[in-house]
Symmetry: C2
Subunit: 312 residues, 2 copies
């Protein structure tokens, strides 16, 4: 039996412009890592948390990585003990699915450590337990892409229906994380409860176009479809200089650029790594014009989801 494992779970871009609450994709960088060790002492303990500036709880049942581990241990190996080390390697409150990545890392690590051979679909409920602790509600649009890898569509929540959408190989993402804080709760509360039928039609045209573009390897169509007439007008106000950054990305060659999840991170998709680098630098430069610091990530699409870094 394995005694120790270190895993990585990817950050995720949810919404992708057009697909509010139903679409997302995973990136290779950034992401979270956790280490699990079999312990002689029954139950689950978090022994170390790095990279969180002291913000995350050590009580495992209150921790997004801890909660799925508690549930899985209870169900599959109640006589064992597990020690957790959490290594946050990405900003949180960033709109990049930080809590989802931790929850997925926990569920995936348990699956590998205990050699359970559960499918992503079987792991999903456990990972969602962690996400609920962080966000207070069931939203799978970050958990699903982090767990499945690639682009995912949540067609329905009742029952949950997740579809993995293949994408072109040469698609790269530029992610700009401005160092400002946005409350996910506030970003959700500012949204209207009703929208015009006309805007809804535009949005479902773009969602359909994005799925078609991904599956047909049509980069131009992917770019034309990354538009948002429903959510962006509200959330853009929370990000200083957002429209200037978006404009700079498109002028530098991005296929499309929009807000990642509830922000403040901004993502752009490009054809090829070189283009993504150029786009990212243009975005970062425009952010500096607003006197705001930030981090830039350039990453291919993560197609496999979480992975084992080592096990022994």
């Amino acid at each position: 039996m394995l005694q120790e494992i270190r895993v990585f779970a990817p950050a995720t871009i949810s919404n992708i412009g057009c697909g509010f609450d139903i679409m997302g994709f995973a990136v290779e960088e950034p992401g979270d890592q956790i280490v699990l060790k079999i312990s002689n002492k029954k139950g689950v303990r978090i022994t170390s948390i790095k990279g969180d500036n002291g913000k995350l709880p050590y009580a495992p049942e209150k921790n997004t990585a801890g909660a799925p581990i508690i549930s899985m241990l209870k169900k599959y190996a109640p006589s064992l003990g597990i020690e957790i080390e959490i290594d946050k390697k990405m900003p949180f409150g960033s709109g990049l699915g930080s809590s989802a990545a931790s929850a997925v890392a926990g569920a995936f690590a348990m699956n590998k450590l205990l050699e359970l051979n559960l499918s992503p679909y079987e792991l999903l409920p456990f990972a969602l337990e962690g996400e609920v602790i962080a966000s207070g509600s069931i939203h799978a649009d970050n958990v699903a892409p982090s767990l499945y890898g690639g682009f995912t569509l949540i067609r329905d929540y009742n029952p949950i229906d997740i579809i993995k959408i293949e994408c072109p190989d040469n698609l790269f993402c530029s992610i700009l994380h401005p160092n400002i804080e946005i409350s996910t709760k506030e970003a959700r509360e500012i949204l209207p409860k009703e929208i015009t039928l006309s805007n809804a039609i535009t949005q479902w045209g773009n969602c359909s176009g994005l799925v078609a573009g991904l599956l047909m390897n049509d980069f131009s169509l992917i770019g034309r479809s990354i538009k948002d007439v429903v959510v962006e007008p509200y959330r853009a106000k929370l990000i200083p200089g957002y429209y200037q950054i978006q404009k700079a990305a498109v002028e530098a060659g991005a296929l499309g650029c929009n807000i990642s999840g509830s922000g403040p991170s901004i993502f752009a998709l490009s054809k090829g790594k070189e283009s993504a680098q150029k786009v990212g630098e243009a975005m970062l430069k425009k952010l500096y014009d607003s006197k705001i610091e930030g981090q830039l990530y350039i990453s291919p699409i993560n197609k496999q989801g979480p992975k084992v870094i080592y096990s022994k």
Copy 2:
């Protein structure tokens, strides 16, 4: 130079449940036919209209097939004369894109007769001129699939962005046309101007799922995605026994069943012709239970759009 041509343009199912105003597909049956003949007398004349019960105008500029022909003649061969025979082989006011089929037949026939080699994209504005005469506004969700064949997505109207979506070979359609009349105008006016964000999200999840299902040859996903929480609740009321017919279709094995366009026709998609036949018969039986007569069509998906029947 050709002297005479007979063409067929397919009927179309718009909306497809989830994709109000943006999606549609073409069928092999029913459809419209028109004959064009080069005449010594300059200008455009309609010499015969069959199958319309006297409802269609002979003045070519007021006729959906005539209008595109007038425009194309003016632009490409102003010195010629054209005689038109219209052979309506499908019900109109049926929700099956009857006027779109006539407009497409007109534009397509001119393209072939004059050997213009225009692409579907280049023919689109001419066909839309005909559709505008019938419906009073620019809606391409029937014209596009009739002209392109297969499944089409209208991602945007401004500028118009039409994407043809490949579909599985073994997909068949059952179409039930109840002999009742619904005004397209009324069917549009009963729709709300605003919808809940929650319903909009459900709808764009299903639109995305339908496109994914078609491109991934996933029949089950196609079926799960043919749902409508936005338009169906309003338009179902205009079709007596609609929900019973839909239930009968699904119980007989249909992947999905919904209202075609603004109704009253009802379509169901099935895997294989035999299944589509069984589904269609179950739908027709249920219609008879409501003491309403109707026509049933069982058809493969039309993948090529309009076609030449003969030319000389």
